[in-house]
Symmetry: C2
Subunit: 236 residues, 2 copies
DNA sequence: ATTAATATAAATGTGCACATTTGGCACGCC
DNA sequence: GGCGTGCCAAATGTGCACATTTATATTAAT
């Protein structure tokens, strides 16, 4: 017999978790918004304990911040936090590029250039969402080339953090101009000039950091239900 | 009125968490040991729900692994996992040393040399526990010099993971010989030779990796209560 | 009129009891 | 004798009810 969608599924936890997480990552929930347990339980049509578990997991992952007896809220990162994330990314990528010296094969080079082609296309079409996503994936491509799960996981963490931040600190200029810098890094790598690649990478991140500006908070306040991707609830 | 030690303290969660965590970190619990909820609740004298929360947190931090409906156990890292952790540390430290170029002040240099003095002393006294701890703190000193919370947190994570692993994969030779390599790195840094420092660091980690050997699992099986640091329980 | 204190209501935290799943064991069958 | 099936016990997972804490609103006093 088929398991009912809303009952004892082990998938339900994951579904709720992903729904809340993507809502946070895509900046759909304004920074500082309090996520109470009871309304969330009603929105998703599940018990409060399940919401509780998901929220605790997100807090443990630093995706939400908890104040004892006062619930959880989406963190409002300071400008220093944002700089720290980008600096960490810069330091890590320097190490990655250094480790990549010598083990750069034609296959990886091909994939990098293909990816940059996609970035250029998205930039030409003024597709800002794709540009941001592809820009992150470019750096992931470099990190995954090492085949080290620890490094990849850390970088993925940094990228999701920074993707939250661009929704708060929106740069006046779009991030499209970064495509040329990506290409320059790959070019330096192709010519086995690792030091130059590292310098270009550092400069690249400094450019991103310098573009960070404080965005005015919007006063719109949509209801909770519309924030999350529609999740089927069992019919009564 | 004073809060009772075993009741509604917010400290209790943290106390149990730290007790279990340090027991894992110090290798007091053999890899593969299953940590059931009910016995743990009896050992610590707290309710099962509290143990539950702590265990879930440790699972989220990858300190324990959970199998659905079958409880949690301390993970048994493979040799590949260990190598990945050390490689990640090597890559990260290359980036750290690169970023440290130019911003190396006399104060940091002084602290590094003092620390190496402690390491040498511990090595002379054959104090293996202190040697391992100090060796980790040396690399933390380098990372903290950047003042970046993200990097420091990641390195701390890597270090705790590797400290678990030395209890499983015990090197035949002790890690005392690494002190000279630490000193060489600092010396290269002091003379502003960053490339040499990075090379020495990479070589250092390769030495550590090459010393990893598979340790025979011990057959001793102590009871749960003696594994954790004594935690006061309220008198009836 | 403003402030402070109290009471009320709502939201979080906790423990308990029950449901569900899993692993072992015994019995029976091939 | 080996293997498959079914029952039983133990451990995990879940929902519910209650305790505790916090914020708000109302009232009274200065």
């Amino acid at each position: 017999m088929m398991p009912r969608p809303g009952k004892g599924d082990p998938e339900t936890d994951e579904a709720v978790y992903k729904a809340v997480l993507t809502a946070i990552l895509e900046g759909r929930i304004e920074a500082g918004t309090k996520l109470a347990e009871t309304p969330l339980a009603e929105v998703f049509g599940v018990s409060r304990e399940r919401i509780r578990k998901v929220l605790h997991r997100l807090v443990a992952e630093r995706r939400l911040e908890a104040i004892p007896n006062r619930g959880v809220r989406v963190p409002e990162p300071s400008l220093e936090d944002v700089r720290a994330v980008y600096q960490a990314h810069r330091v890590l990528e320097a190490g990655i590029l250094h480790a990549l010296a010598g083990r750069l094969d034609a296959d990886l080079l091909q994939r990098l250039e293909t990816h940059i082609g996609w970035e250029q296309r998205a930039a030409m079409e003024r597709d800002r969402a794709s540009s941001v996503r592809l820009s992150g994936e470019f750096h992931l491509l470099l990190a995954d080339a090492l085949g080290n799960a620890e490094i990849s996981a850390f970088l993925r963490n940094l990228l999701t953090r920074s993707s939250i931040m661009v929704s708060v600190y929106e740069s006046a200029a779009d991030s499209i101009c970064g495509v040329h810098e990506h290409a320059a890094i790959v070019e330096a790598l192709a010519s086995n000039n690792v030091d130059k690649a590292i310098s270009l990478s550092a400069e690249h991140f400094r450019h991103i950091e310098s573009r960070l500006r404080l965005k005015k908070p919007e006063v719109e306040k949509p209801d909770l239900a519309s924030l999350f991707t529609p999740l089927r609830v069992p019919e009564p």
